[in-house]
Symmetry: C2
Subunit: 196 residues, 2 copies
DNA sequence: CAAGTTACAAGATTTGAAATCTGTCACCGA
DNA sequence: TCGGTGACAGATTTCAAATCTTGTAACTTG
């Protein structure tokens, strides 16, 4: 007779969802697909996630949280002067997304859909990044490397000025080979503007 | 009997195409629609324009050329110091697009489609704008208001740093009320970076 | 009662045939 | 020969019917 499989917890469902997303892409992946892969009825999935949207947000949040933690290490690295840290951090933001696009295009597309739908997963992530940027700028203001009257406003300005290198709308341009040089040029210009 | 209408020159066709685009939007507007509006067969339109794509490019080019000329006046205005001119010019670029989106959303969408398809109409326009930006920066470098070792590279950096305020991918964000303030903040940061 | 099931309504998506559109042709008239 | 025509093939779009998906509910079981 049927033996009970794994107890089916949220993490198991998330892993299966990632796999289905990778295989079918965000437009074709269904909750029924996920349930079938787990050998359960799709209603069982709804016991753990309120909606398909919630399931996708949970998958995306895992990746974004991982990114946030990776970047936080750079943002808090006191061994690097804030100017270099800012440059390194901005390059890392770009590099993380470039890697995901290359290695996991379907999952990245799912993230893009959420952002386009103004999901809080995306807006919260932006808030996280802005916080890290503010911390770097505050460090620079404290040690005299940067001049600024309002750290948050300056962080916002730097974030907006580098939109081309982190905003999803520009993802297609990140394939172009000159993109890193372009970011470098913008960084240099911005860092000169931040000098006291 | 049928009297000959207007001689049907390229400009007449372009005007009719604009009208059809405005009415139906870029996804539904057809060459047959344009011909019908002019009272001719659609083959007649193909005597003047090689393809539907060419027709749309011609319509869009008229608007972009008008924009270019408007902006050129600002870029060349020697009565304004380059720093203020740069800020004014960047605001004007944004304002022109905001106005078009508001007053002619379908025509703006047609422009967006061409840009997404990497039409030369779009890339040429970017080259025009970069040229104007380079001219402003060169003026500033000459009169000592700006410091730069490579005017073109600096112009590119400024252009990339303000992508959020002119790149079509961000058009949806231009409705937000804070957008002008955000551009101001970025301008201020960039102008400090350009100071000698 | 937590975790699962089957059954089902409402709505979205796919499908496939019919209609329309694009681009080209040979031809026409001034 | 320039500017126009109707007819045409192949690609694209449309639209209604069929199917699949989502989300809920009433029910089962350890």
């Amino acid at each position: 007779m049927e033996q009970k499989r794994t107890p089916l917890d949220a993490d198991t469902i998330l892993a299966a969802t990632e796999e289905i997303l990778r295989r079918h892409g965000p437009d074709k992946a269904t909750v029924v697909d996920v349930a079938r892969a787990l050998g359960v009825s799709h209603a069982a999935v709804y016991k753990h996630f309120a909606s398909k949207q919630a399931l996708r947000e949970a998958v995306t949040r895992r990746w974004l949280d991982h990114n946030r933690d990776t970047l936080a290490v750079i943002a808090a690295d006191q061994g690097m002067p804030p100017a270099r840290r800012l440059r390194t951090w901005l390059h890392a933001v770009l590099a993380l997304k470039q890697t995901k696009i290359r290695e996991d295009p379907e999952l990245f597309a799912a993230y893009g859909n959420l952002a386009a739908a103004h999901s809080t997963v995306a807006t919260d992530h932006v808030a996280d990044l802005l916080g890290q940027l503010t911390a770097i700028i505050a460090d620079g203001a404290r040690d005299g490397g940067f001049h600024t009257s309002d750290e948050e406003a300056t962080a916002r300005a730097v974030f907006h000025a580098t939109a081309k290198f982190h905003h999803l709308a520009h993802a297609a341009e990140w394939r172009e080979p000159g993109i890193d040089t372009e970011l470098d040029e913008v960084c240099t210009l911005l860092l000169e503007g931040l000098q006291p």
